[in-house]
Structures are given as structure tokens and as C-alpha cells.
């Protein structure tokens, strides 16, 4: 195992100490991130490349840690402060968390997504806590006139054993504020066995307020005199407003304003055309929608139907259209010489995010200033988009972060923020809350895009995989895939065999697409691990054994496209772990109940999963899921971590089993609420066994990587149980 790399912080790191108003120590760290810590080129803007940590210690010993990132249910408002508090060596009960407003100049990056918060913050947060502790120790040493090395700390107190003296952190905090902060790169960190907070189950910082129904979510924002808005958009994606007759709606009870809004022609990242109805009560605004008479131009959406997308994808595959993304060796020759060849086509649909809190945002435009309260995963991008879409100066916008009732990638987009900004600017001086109905939320999503795969594999005389190809059909303009519709050229078995081809073609769409939890991987894993299960059966083995054979000896494989390095040893370890925990054995064919397996590496996490499922009368029941995951040396908060894994597993099962698909007819989404777009419910929830494989690597994130493998593990179990191969999602079995 490679040791945890002690990444050095950039030498431009700034650590600043000051005296807190009213006494006490305020410590502020600004830390440029190395490029290797960033996922994509567009993150490398100035603010995304900067991390910050703020901690202060008041004279009464209260430790305040600023939580700067949006909380969407991933637990970051609790887990990042845990890192600071542990190295500070205070007691968790002394800690208060303050939610920051959006201020990229002050806080650097403020976003949630991509399972990146943990790996980016792990060392910077700990080092900031450790620096604060070192300053308190030094201050106590001055006060007691002893050597700093003679002082120990525990639970927010300083001890000098030799003289039996002790002090609370608050008592020396003001003295510490006058000291020069230590070098963040050399400040000593705890050894893992010394952690007192990291690795312990810590209850979420907002949980006590949530169980009492306190108003902490975006939708709970309330301002004096506030009105409520709905925003009617075209029924079809890509539709434009021609004209609107607002008179009848205007006469509706409670309605104060009806505002036709001309967008900027960019419904994707800008402002969509629509008609806002603003009323004294949201339900009254919603009722008035039926009285709107709007003429839309829907011509751009013509032909953008699910059936036509299928036909175009089939034609693209049949004709071998598109371009190679990756060719290793000579896959054509190897396929021709294979002892056995198998081929299969897979597809999956568009699906919606459907967070429980529908999209909403609150704003007030007063005296040229726009103030916004947003539940967003990427408020910074919103702040950048508002001036472009609305023509307001960036410095005239203030943005407050609100807790989000689920993100799943939907709130990476800020369309609702721009809409409420446009509405607020049309009615100066009036605070307004825009809330989408559930139907709006499902019809105007940035969907996980559908996709098609045509696989071919060659098996050698000894049952080994010798050639692999995938022709992927995705959405895009022919040059660039649509958002979250890109292929991953490092997808296994790439890098594990010599002869391989990944080819891609694109079909255009007017439908808005975007990242859904484990973007790319949630779909690519289903298709590729299902087809590799077919390969395993054809080769007379089973998928975990085939994967172990392909992974070979422990080594690191560099990724293309600046992706993270893939460690075959870590993959082997989670596969072997889940085989052991699930008591994996070759499955008896078609017995009605069986186990299925899958592995995937995404968002720097290694996950192998086994699903035990039975099929009767066309109905699938999942009895148990075993998960083995490696996200590094340390689980920061086991309570939050297990919740993320369980949620991801059930999320994946629901994608396969509850019929989830968004279908289109001429650009009009055909599903709109939880009757025709079903989410998981309690009765389908299986027991979930989680085993952590701890490796000597820095901890990485957990919002996403547990999701992808559960879908093919399930469909591979269905095959083992019934002999029916699931090559299309969602799962549909005949009775």
C-alpha cells in the first residue's frame, strides 16, 4: 500500500491571526489548491482554486467554525468542522458552526458537488485546527513561563502536568491572538489513533432543528411583506414565448403581478422565457396559472421524442457512425482471431433528480441592490450568471446560502436563481419567493441524459478477455457532448487489456441535461459491468473472478483526461472484501433467487457490491445488499458516511426498479410527479451491510461512488435468478 501522501500546501498560503472583537483569537487561513485537487478545467478559476478555513475562540471557550460550503444533506456542515475541531483538540460540545454567506473573495471555493469536499479539505482543515492549538499552547507557555513542549491539551483545556496548572482555551485566546501564526506546512498533526472527534459518530449540526420543524431550508425563507411567485414556461423544452394575455390571470384572487419575461434565448444557463404570476399566497399564484393565455413557439422541439431518439441511436450504431475516442492495440484483429465473440446492446433513459424540496429561491431588489436567498450547490456560478442574464452589476448582488432539501446535482444549476432575480427586478422593493411546483421541477430538470451502448468482446482460448469495444451513442452537437453526457475513456476494462476501442456518436437534443449523483458513472457502470457479466458467463467464470483476473497485480494506472489514478490493488481489496462479506459463490442458474456482483471506481472511491434478489411474477424483491468501499484511511463521520452509502444504494435500486424514465414527445416531458416518476419507498428498502476497507490514502468523498455498482449488481442478480438479461433500464419483466 502506498502511504498517505502528505500533500504540501501551496507556499502562497496565508494564515492570519487577529484579536476577536470582545476578546479571543480569530484565525483565518487562505490556501490555494493544487491543480491536481481540482476535477475539471472550469474549476480552475480563481475562486474555485482557493480554500479557506475560519476558526475563532472566544474568552468563554466557545469555538466558532465557519461552514462556508452549501449543505445539501451530504453532511459537510458537520464533517469539515470536525476536522478543524479534532486537531484543535477541543470538545465537540464547545463548537458552534456559523453558516457563511457567499463571498468568494473571502472564502474561496463555496460549492457542493462531485464528492470533492472531503479530499480538498482534509489537510487544510486539520492544519488550521492544529495551528490554532499550537498558538494556544504557545500563549499558555508564555503565561506560565514554561516550555511549550511541557504543555498538553485535551477537550479544550491546556495542562502543565509538572505544576498541576490548567487553563481553558478561552483564557489564553486573546494572548494567542498577538502571536505569529505557525507555518501550516510544518505544524504537527495528530496520528489517527489520537483522533477524538474524527471517526466518531457525530450528529448533524442542524439535526436538532430539523426534527422540530424549524425554518432552515430555502423554501422557509420569509421576509416581511413577501409575495409568492410561480413561473410558467413553455410546455416543451426549447420553447419560446410569442405572446401572453395576462388579463384573466391578473383578475384572479390574490394575484398582484403577472409578468411576461423575455429570456435571453439561453434556457440552458441563462434566463428562460416565461410568465411569472406573483400573489399573496403561493397556492393562489398556482391557481391563476390555468387562466393564463400564452402562445408559445414550440417549433424547435419538433421531433425531439423518445421514440425518435431510439431510432437515431440505432441507426448510428448500425451504420458505425461517429469517431473513436480511444483505440488501444488492434481490437479489430483481436476480435477476428478470438475463440469466442459476444455482442450486446444496452440503453438507459433520461431520469430526473426530483429532490424533495422543489426548486425555489427568494429575492428582493431594492435601491439597485439585489439580495438573494438560495439553496444552491454552486452559488458562485449563480453570482456569475446573474449579471450576464439580468444586466446587473456583480457588486450589486448579495447572496445568502440556505440549506437545500436535497441536491443530487440538480442544484449545480441556478436557473431558479436567475428567474427570481428577473421577477424581483421587475417589482422593485417587493420581496418575492419563487417556488416551482413538483410538476415544474420534473418537467424542467437538467436530466441525467439517456444513452446507448453497443458492446463487443473477444474471448481467448483460455477464457480470457482479449478484446473489447463499445460504441456509445450520446447527446451533443456533434463536437461536444451535452452536459453530463460525456464518455469516460478510462472505463474498465480500459487499461486492463491491450486491445480496446471506445467510439462515440452524438445526436442533438433540445432537452436540458446535467449531472445526477455519480454523473456518467451511474449509467456507464450499469452498461459496462452488465456486459462484463455476460463476458464472464461466456468465458465460464463469474464477474468478480473475471475482474480480479483483469486487475492483475497491484499497480497504479494513470488516467486519461486528467482523471484520478486507478489503483488495481485497492480495487482487488474491495472485490475480495465483498466476496467474503456476502459469502459469494458461483450462483446456481435460474433458481428464482440469486446474488449479483459489480465493481466501479468513481469520484476517487472504490466500491464492490453484491445484491441478493429474487424474482416472482415479474416482481423483483431485493433482500440484502453488501457494500465494500475504500475511500481512504479514515471515515470522518461514520453516521454521515453510512447514510450516504445507504442512500446511494437505495437510490440506484430505485433507478432500476421503480420504472424511472422521463420520456418526451416533441420536447414535452411525459412524466411530472411521483405517480409517474416513482422514487424509492420504505417497503423496498433492503438490509444493507457496509464494510470499509481502510487504505493508507487520504480520505475521499462519499456522496456518489457507492451508487454506480448497485445497479448492475442488481441486474446481474436478476440474470442469475431468471436467465433474463437486463439490457435496458428501467427493469421491466413480464409476469
Amino acid at each position: 500500500m502506498s502511504p498517505e501522501r502528505p500533500a504540501m500546501l501551496d507556499r502562497r498560503t496565508v494564515l492570519k491571526a487577529s484579536l476577536l472583537a470582545g476578546g479571543g483569537l480569530a484565525l483565518e487561513a487562505l490556501i490555494p489548491l493544487p491543480l491536481s485537487a481540482l476535477e475539471s478545467p472550469d474549476e480552475r478559476s480563481s475562486s474555485a482554486a482557493l480554500l479557506s478555513a475560519f476558526v475563532s475562540i472566544a474568552p468563554d471557550g466557545t469555538v466558532t467554525i465557519v461552514s462556508k460550503n452549501p449543505e445539501i444533506g451530504q453532511g459537510v456542515k458537520t464533517s469539515l468542522p470536525m476536522m478543524v475541531a479534532d486537531e484543535l483538540d477541543c470538545d465537540w460540545s464547545q463548537v458552534r458552526i456559523a453558516q457563511a454567506d457567499l463571498d468568494p473573495k473571502r472564502y474561496g471555493e463555496q460549492s457542493a458537488g462531485g464528492s470533492t469536499s472531503t479530499p480538498k479539505n482534509w489537510l487544510p482543515m486539520r492544519r488550521t485546527g492544529a495551528a490554532a492549538r499550537a498558538m494556544l499552547v504557545q500563549a499558555a507557555a508564555q503565561q506560565w513561563k514554561v516550555e511549550a513542549s511541557e504543555i498538553t491539551t485535551a477537550k479544550g483545556r491546556l495542562f502543565h502536568r509538572a505544576s498541576g496548572r490548567s487553563l481553558g482555551y478561552g483564557e489564553v485566546a486573546s494572548r494567542a491572538a498577538a502571536l505569529t501564526p505557525p507555518d501550516l506546512n510544518t505544524v504537527p498533526l495528530k496520528r489517527p489513533e489520537e483522533f477524538t472527534i474524527i471517526g466518531r459518530p457525530v450528529v448533524g449540526i442542524d439535526s436538532a432543528r430539523i426534527v422540530k420543524g424549524e425554518p432552515i431550508f430555502g423554501i422557509d425563507t420569509h421576509l416581511p411583506g413577501m409575495l409568492y411567485a410561480v413561473f410558467e414556461v413553455a410546455p416543451a423544452h426549447g420553447g419560446r414565448l410569442v405572446k401572453a394575455n395576462t388579463e384573466a390571470a391578473m383578475r384572479s384572487l390574490g394575484v398582484k403581478h403577472v409578468l411576461p419575461i423575455r429570456g435571453n434565448g439561453d434556457a440552458d444557463t441563462g434566463l428562460a422565457d416565461g410568465v411569472a404570476i406573483v400573489a399573496t399566497n403561493w397556492w393562489l399564484a398556482e391557481q391563476a396559472r390555468s387562466k393564463l393565455q400564452v402562445e408559445w413557439d414550440l417549433s424547435a422541439a419538433k421531433g425531439h421524442s423518445t421514440t425518435q431518439y431510439h431510432a437515431r441511436a440505432k441507426a448510428a450504431i448500425d451504420a458505425g457512425e461517429g469517431a473513436d475516442l480511444r483505440v488501444d492495440g488492434d481490437p479489430s484483429a483481436k476480435l477476428a482471431s478470438a475463440a469466442k465473440r459476444i455482442a450486446a446492446r444496452y440503453d438507459y433513459p433520461f431520469i430526473a433528480h426530483a429532490p424533495m424540496e422543489p426548486q425555489n429561491c427568494t429575492a428582493c431588489y431594492r435601491a439597485g441592490q439585489l439580495e438573494i436567498w438560495a439553496p444552491s450547490q454552486t452559488p458562485q456560478r449563480g453570482l456569475e450568471a446573474l449579471p450576464k442574464a439580468l444586466g446587473i452589476a456583480p457588486e450589486a448582488v448579495t447572496l445568502h446560502l440556505r440549506r437545500a432539501g436535497g441536491g443530487f446535482g440538480r442544484r449545480l444549476m441556478n436557473d431558479y436563481m436567475i428567474q427570481v432575480g428577473a421577477i424581483a427586478m421587475a417589482i422593485p422593493g417587493v420581496p418575492v419567493q419563487l417556488l416551482w411546483s413538483r410538476e415544474d421541477d420534473i418537467r424542467r430538470d437538467y436530466y441525467r441524459p439517456g444513452g446507448w451502448h453497443s458492446f463487443e468482446a473477444g474471448i481467448g482460448a483460455n477464457g480470457e478477455l482479449i478484446a473489447f469495444s463499445d460504441h456509445f451513442v450520446t447527446f451533443g452537437d456533434g463536437k461536444t457532448p451535452a452536459r453530463a453526457a460525456a464518455f469516460n475513456v478510462s472505463m474498465p476494462p480500459a487499461g486492463l487489456i491491450q486491445d480496446l476501442r471506445y467510439r462515440q456518436s452524438m445526436i442533438p437534443t433540445v432537452v436540458t441535461t446535467g449531472a445526477l449523483r455519480a454523473p456518467g458513472s451511474n449509467a456507464l457502470c450499469f452498461a459496462s459491468q452488465s456486459f462484463l457479466d455476460e463476458v464472464a458467463h461466456a468465458a465460464g467464470t463469474n464477474l468478480p473472478q473475471l475482474m480480479l483476473g483483469l486487475l492483475g497485480k497491484r499497480r497504479e494506472i494513470g488516467a486519461r483526461d486528467n482523471g484520478p489514478v486507478f489503483d488495481t490493488g485497492r480495487a482487488r481489496d474491495v472485490i475480495e472484501k465483498v466476496m467474503q462479506s456476502s459469502n459469494w459463490s458461483p450462483q446456481p442458474a435460474r433458481s428464482g433467487r440469486a446474488k449479483g456482483f459489480a465493481f466501479y471506481f468513481s469520484h476517487r472511491g472504490y466500491f464492490a457490491e453484491v445484491v441478493d434478489a429474487s424474482v416472482a411474477g415479474g416482481e423483483v424483491a431485493v433482500h440484502q445488499v453488501w457494500v465494500a468501499g475504500d475511500v481512504g484511511s479514515q471515515i470522518v463521520n461514520p453516521l454521515g458516511a453510512e447514510n450516504q452509502v445507504r442512500g446511494a444504494v437505495i437510490d440506484g435500486l430505485a433507478q432500476a426498479l421503480t420504472g424511472q424514465a422521463i420520456e418526451f414527445v416533441d420536447g414535452v416531458p411525459q412524466q411530472s410527479n411521483f405517480n409517474d416518476f416513482q422514487l424509492a419507498r420504505m417497503p423496498m428498502t433492503p438490509a444493507i451491510d457496509i464494510a470499509w476497507v481502510k487504505s493508507e490514502n487520504a480520505p475521499t468523498g462519499l456522496g456518489e461512488p457507492a451508487l454506480p455498482p448497485v445497479i448492475p449488481a442488481l441486474t446481474n442478480a436478476i440474470f442469475a435468478a431468471t436467465g433474463t438479461r437486463i439490457r435496458s433500464l428501467p427493469v421491466r419483466l413480464s409476469a
Partner: protein, 159 residues
Amino acid sequence: MRYRLNINGATRQVEAPPEMPLLWVLRNELGLLGTKYGCGKGFCGSCTVHVDGAARRSCQLPVGSIGGSSIRTIEHIGSTAIGARLQAAWLKIDVMQCGYCQAGQIMSACALLGQTARPNDDQINSAMAGNICRCACYNRIRSAIRIAAGMEEESGHVA
């Protein structure tokens, strides 16, 4: 129309059309923001309140139909013995992720335990099937109900 509603033990007056769902009376007229909007069609359970002790979807309850019934919302559930036990159990194992649906979950669980003091798993599943948790905290919701019912002690067990 003017209504006098009995909400959380107090009389509240509102002016609203009779068709307005109780959810929007609570949220936009009375400022009781704990009860959440999720779907508006009774599919998700986020808006669950108690009407004379029974769990009801407030998005489907016209204010004109309520009359003198006693309404209880999440803000006041801690004043009942079962509600307080459920809130404590929810915190003991930290059920939630995003937390948005949890008010509705607790209201449904509270109605269940009011009727069935020691529910089995099938009874829990069936009473809670109308409440969606998009983060899928279902294993822990089940556990927290068992803890509140005195049927499960071990906080580490959340399978």
C-alpha cells in the same frame, strides 16, 4: 371566507377561500413553515399533519373542510409523549441527510405509534409507505421508530 382553526392548541384566524389546502394556510398565512410542500398531490407525505390525531396530507385538505377539528403540526409534536420520544430517537441515530421530508416522516410515525404501540416491520413499512425520503434514510427511520417504541436499544444497529 374567514376561518377559526384549532392549531397546536390555539385558535388561529385566517381569511382564505375554502378550497385553499391547509398546507398553504399553514405556510403562507400563518407562518408555520415546518410542514413541507413536496408534490401537492398527496403522493409524498412531506406535508403530513395530524387532524384529531390521524396523519393527513395537508396539501389535500381544503381549509373549508376542517371545521373544529384539532390540527397538530411538527412545531408542536414535541409536546406529546410519543412525539418527544420520536424526536429523541431521530437524533440518537441521526436519521436524516437533507432533512426536508423528516417533519412528515415524524408525523406519520407518531400517528403509527399512537395506534400501534409496538409495530412490527410490516406495520412500520405500511404506515410509512406514503412518505418519500429522496435521500433514502429508510433503514434509520425504521430503526428510530423501533427505538421510540422501546423495541430497539442498540443505536449502532441501523440495518
